[in-house]
């Protein structure tokens, strides 16, 4: 551990936020220099959950390594697996059956919904409103039940294999998803009533943590964080992958770049995800759910990179292959890492209370940052 200083030479107090702190959503450690309540500088210290996944993956086969990535960004575990599978498929040049593509996307969007609901609940909790968390979990539990039936797990689904999905969907899948959509649509108004329209909430988020479009580009921000600043960066839209090519949906953009804009992006994205699921749920094509692949996968020599949109932003999976059964080098470009690098810029000059709201709207998942 590095030497902890109490005060800077100028006499400002250095406050250690974390690694165990309720609003860091994990084990993020921030050194913040404060003058009274005003934040002068913020220095993130990460690595408290650095599990060396990249090194570990170098000794795992192409079938195995996919599942260790579920533990990276566990709230969008499915999308992580999807990214890895896409990269491996790109190398193997496997055609994924259409049915598998559609199932993958439905589960992806359900994961996104579950992730955003958890984010909504915990953001409200960070800002001091404790009840929305429980309302969010009410709907989220419906999703985890669906996941459990079809994928076999609630959180880290491990449902994707190179070439398709591991098993066919559960017979109840479509009915339950439709039930969820009905329930969710009846409750989204409640979400807005409870939190969005609250005057205190708006005061806490409007005009706070402003990130301009230029800065968003320079800091490499992605996902709802960047879209709140008006940067069009939804990979689903601009570089469509999987079955997203054939789906009608809007890319949500807000231009203010403050916490409230990021909040609204995520809220509207939830509705958009429901819209995507509605289009697909009755149109799951018949056929195989998995393409035939060899038992031992060998990627040809080369470098493969896949970009895809997780709940937090752009995930990049970069595989360098030497032609063996294990990757030579693997790199995960995690969305949270770049978003975190903009945090210092965003909170400078704000109060300690604002740090919580900005961090909440960045939706940081620390294992995703540390890998």
């Amino acid at each position: 551990m590095r030497n902890v200083v109490d005060t800077t030479p100028e006499g400002n107090m250095v406050l250690n936020v974390g690694p165990q702190h309720p609003s860091t959503h994990g084990v993020l450690h921030l050194f913040i220099t404060v003058n009274g309540e005003t934040i002068l500088n913020l220095d993130p210290n990460i690595g408290y959950i650095h599990r060396s996944i990249e090194k570990m993956c170098e000794s795992l086969s192409y079938r195995q390594f996919i599942y260790s990535t579920s533990r990276m960004d566990y709230l969008s575990a499915h999308m992580n697996n999807h990214g890895c599978a896409l990269t491996v498929e790109k190398g193997l040049q496997v055609e994924v059956p259409e049915r598998a593509e559609v199932i993958r996307i439905i589960i992806s969007e359900l994961t996104r919904l579950a992730s955003h609901q958890l984010w909504w609940g915990s953001l409200a909790m960070d800002l001091g409103a404790l009840s929305p968390f429980f309302y969010a979990f009410r709907e989220r539990e419906m999703i985890t039940d669906i996941m459990e039936e079809t994928c076999g797990a609630r959180l880290t689904m491990n449902y994707i294999v190179p070439g398709g999905v591991m098993a066919d969907i559960h017979p109840d899948f479509q009915r339950k998803v439709k039930e969820f959509i009905v329930q969710f649509k009846s409750k989204i108004g409640e979400y807005h009533e409870l939190v969005t329209d609250n005057v205190i909430f708006q005061n806490r988020t409007k005009g706070i943590g402003i990130l301009s479009k230029e800065d968003a580009i320079s800091y490499g921000c992605t996902g709802p964080t960047a879209r709140g600043s008006g940067l069009s960066c939804d990979i689903r839209k601009i570089y469509p992958y999987s079955a997203y090519k054939n789906i009608q949906f809007k890319e949500i953009l807000e231009t203010e770049g403050d916490s409230f804009a990021r909040y609204m992006v995520r809220m509207r994205e939830m509705e958009e995800s429901v819209h995507i699921i509605e289009q697909l749920i009755d149109n799951i094509p018949e056929g195989e759910f998995q393409a035939k692949t060899k038992a031992v996968l060998k990627l040809p020599k080369g470098e493969f990179y896949t970009r895809l949109e997780t709940a937090r932003g752009e995930l990049g999976v970069y595989i360098v292959s030497e032609g063996g059964t294990t990757p030579y080098r693997i790199k995960f470009r995690s969305p949270g890492f770049s978003n975190l690098s903009a945090l210092n810029h965003m909170v400078k000059g704000h109060k300690i209370g604002d740090l919580v709201s900005v961090m909440g709207t960045l939706d940081l998942v620390i294992p995703d940052i540390d890998r």
Binding site: R2, G47, K55, K90, G220, E303, Y305, E314, Y328, R329
Partner: protein
């Protein structure tokens, strides 16, 4: 720009560099000393406008390192891969922080895990590991008999 025209325009822009289409995008290999001028040209040019660094990482090839920069343009939506060879004995390369602020953290990570020194980096410290960590774990010759249990 699509990959083909981008490749052609890059070839005319950088005649001395080796450029080829990779699995997704054009890949350009340069020497580490050229990095700053190449990036300046790539970012500043109106044709290319590579203003978005979405991934920066390093690969250990046992004989040398390769710094890999994935660049893209938010305006034209085209992407490219820039590779710079770094010597293994004296692992030094210029930092690109002045072009892309995101590189600050990314380069700290690379420094942490590969031990590459970034010249003119504002604050080059260990990021993920503790300050007293010995060695650079993502190098291929990293050996840690205590923590690493080999399967």
């Amino acid at each position: 720009m699509e990959n083909e025209p981008l490749l052609n325009s890059l070839q005319t822009g950088f005649p001395e560099a080796t450029i080829a289409i990779g699995s997704d995008w054009p890949e350009m290999s340069i020497e580490s000393t050229q990095l700053l001028e190449v990036i300046e040209k790539l970012k500043g040019s109106d044709n290319w406008d590579f203003n978005y660094l979405f991934c920066e990482t390093c690969v250990d090839w046992k004989t040398h390192f390769t710094m890999v920069y994935h660049l893209s343009s938010t305006q034209f939506r085209h992407s490219m891969v820039l590779k710079a060879k770094v010597d293994r004995e004296i692992p030094q390369i210029e930092s690109v922080v002045k072009f892309y602020k995101t590189a600050e953290m990314l380069e700290r990570e690379v420094y942490d895990l590969f031990g590459i020194q970034f010249l003119n980096h504002p604050d080059l410290r260990r990021l993920l590991l503790t300050e007293d960590w010995v060695g650079y774990p993502l190098r291929k010759d990293y050996h840690d008999p205590i923590n690493m249990i080999k399967l």
